[in-house]
Amino acid sequence: MMLFDLARKNLQRNFSSYFLYIASMVFSIVIYFTFVTLKYNDDIEKMTGTSQKISSIMSGSAVVLLFFIVVFIAYSNSFFMKKRKKEVALYSLLGVRKQQIGFMLFFENLFIGIVSLIAGIGIGFLMSKVLLTILIRLMGYSLTAGFTFSMPAVINTIIVFSILFLFTSLQGYRVIYQFKLIDLFHAEKQGEAMPKASIISAIIGTASIATGYYFALADIMTSTAWRIIGIAMPIVIIGLTIFGTYLLFHSVSVFLLQAMKKIHRYAWKNLNLITTSQLLYRIRGNAKSLTVIAVLSATTITAGGAVFGLYYNISKTTTTSTPITFMWKGEALDVPEVDYHNTLTLKDVTLTNADAEYNYMFMSLSDYNKLAVQQGKQEMASIKEGQSVLLDPFFDERFSNKVKGETYTTADTQLQVAEQYEYGVTNIGTTGNIMIVADSTFETLQGEAILTQMYQVKEEADQLQISRDLEKRITEQQQAFTSHPADFEQSMSGAGAMLFVGSFLGLVFLTATGSIIYFKVISEAEADKDKYTILYKIGVNDQQMLKTIATQVAIIFGAPLIVGITHASVALLGFSNLLGMSITKPVLLWMAAYTLIYVLYYIFTTRAFYKIVKNARRNI
């Protein structure tokens, strides 16, 4: 069939321009297919015995992923079609009917679709083993995943992408039918007007970002703004920031670049004139896209940083809440690999003050000091008669009750809380917060005496097996069992899965935003190549040419990235203040990884741009 031949030949000859489009298709399919495979995979649950958690995280993320893929494919397709408008016009000029052109494009799409589906599912199948292994490792298990070929995943992927292909074909048809032959001859430009900087919107933009930041970093408890706006605050912050970001790209950038152009010492040197004026048009023209990219980057970095931060802090948080490997109330059991074992008697005492009645576990000072030495914590010299010290490992200035100085009444005496410390020596799950009193006070306190067992085991985080065995042996004689390895595993598998999904989605967002900038820059390079030919004729050498291109591309890539990182830093600062944990190191790692991939995109784009400019000279 002639049309089919034409479509096939088209593909063969213009492979390079198709390549990028096919590559983005394959990429989307690989990502989606792997994700769906993981969703349908029950190995993880079998291996780890965890609940529905993973698959529900996966299902939720698959929706986000799908949404993103739709946008991404629509974008790649419209970029691809734009490139081919001239070709379509030429067929039309030669008298090919629109219907036939439509058929031709349909065959092409069909072919591209089938090729990408086969390639995508193939690569996805290989990738899923790698990704599954990574997921399992992140969740803290040392198992290796096998190859799994999931038929439901294949069917799911094929259905979803067939619909998408149908959609892109329709997009193609639309281009053909909307196209008027006269457009071919009118193709070129009437000069666009130079963007003008509005000082007012530049100021509003800067102010709205500043306000957003101010609110984000304000102390939730004491800030008046938070009190007034309350629960809607996060939305206000996000709204202000997005609005400000748009104005930043739309006005502040124009304002700055205009100012730079006025400094003749800078502008009238080398190609700085070209660099600044090109950027003026580019940034203003793409303000919306740049805002979207900046916001997406900010979201990705924030989410990734937060999850990575939590993950990174798991062992610390576990140690804070569960410093002892195994602890329970009641009789001792035979535990292997024990480093040391304490049997202590605590007292469960009822305290009252004006407001209410409380129950606390009490511990004698000498018992505390014994534990403190074992755990490398500070000893206490003495506690006065009639006073106590509260150990509250999760104390937080903003949310916790401050009980220092409070006086409580027990059955026969009064106790004043002399200190409130932010750490514990026992497992919270077994004892709750505990009060320490002098040995003599402890003797006379009236309350139920409770025998507690504490076992410190070597390599505690890896002793999950011992923990499980112990759990099975627990009878009525032992209560309130807490285990460091079990808690650790619990947090790891949850946060690990979240980290995996977060990184995975982050990677997808990153790739998609990177590709979108790439598409934009390259289509603009195509539009602008004549300008660079003029420069070549004037006597601009290749080095200067490369420099101005590299600078322009760097700013187009760098501006949204820097804005995104700045937004994310503020958000993460707020987040770490809120949770009271230090996440600087994991966040920096995460940002570095993100930036690195962006840099790769940057290099790739700059080279492609430069190549277009160089090739344009051949047609002089």
Partner: protein, 255 residues
């Protein structure tokens, strides 16, 4: 006196094997400093190829081109770019102005690339703008001015670096007759007062009549050469028409 431009046996061929097309064949001629020389010939004769080769935008297949004492036919790419920047000026039919820059910035550009100090740039731009009568347009953008003004801007850009030689490729091709005359008068005035060397490709006998000497090329070869000498411009114009008629050029264009 040493000629400013010496073209020696220049050939330019396209294609390979049996499908060779000879765009230029054994072209040799010289241009002295301060000359205003025209290149004429029918479409496809190789006028623009010759100009591109001389202007170092394209490479000759063989032969030598000396501009001053430099053989540009043997220069490497990077050196060529610098050479163009420092010694050559270009005026094109379609102006080739950068539409994202103002008129002033367009003229500043070649000086900026040559790293000229800001103060000197300012002086030179003002002087050249005065010469071409575009002083009031300096802060306008190309899309805001007329074709004739654009071409005067382009000419200012070409001349602001005081190049050794200016290549003009159909500079009046897109202009109405009034603008064309203005431009040609400006160029010929500059040629007289500043001793600028100008080489202009045109198929328009009227434009060519502003030159002092015209070389004709046909099928890639030099065919004829006429000098204005002491003739008036009108007499010279008639002479050009006669030559064009004899070689079958585009006489129709001027009627």
């Amino acid at each position: 006196m040493q000629p400013l431009l010496k073209v020696n046996n220049v050939n330019k061929t396209y294609g390979k094997g049996t499908q060779v097309f000879k765009a230029l064949q054994n072209i040799s001629f010289t241009v002295d400093e301060g000359e205003f020389i025209g290149v004429m010939g029918p479409s496809g004769a190789g006028k623009s190829t010759l100009l591109n080769v001389l202007a170092t935008i394209d490479n000759p297949t063989s032969g030598d081109i000396f501009i001053g004492s430099d053989n540009v036919a043997k220069m490497k790419d990077k050196a060529l770019a610098d050479f163009r920047r420092d010694h050559l000026g270009f005026i094109f039919q379609d102006y080739n102005l950068l539409d994202s820059l103002t008129v002033r910035e367009n003229i500043v550009l070649p000086l900026a690339i040559a790293k000229t100090p800001v103060k000197e740039i300012d002086e030179r731009v003002n002087r050249i703008a005065e010469t071409f009568g575009i002083k009031d347009l300096l802060s306008k953008y190309p899309y805001q001015i007329s074709g004739g003004q654009k071409q005067r801007t382009a000419s200012s850009r070409a001349l602001v670096t005081t190049p050794k030689i200016i290549f003009a490729d159909e500079p009046t091709g897109a202009l109405d007759s009034k603008s064309a005359t203005d431009l040609l008068e400006s160029l010929s005035r500059l040629n007289e007062t500043e001793q600028s060397t100008i080489m202009m490709v045109t198929h328009d006998a009227y434009a060519a009549s502003f030159c002092q000497r015209i070389i004709f090329i046909q099928d890639g070869k030099l065919s004829k050469e006429v000098m204005r000498g002491t003739q008036t411009r009108k007499q010279f114009f008639q002479q050009i028409l006669q030559v064009l008629a004899s070689i079958g050029g585009e006489v129709n264009d001027v009627i």
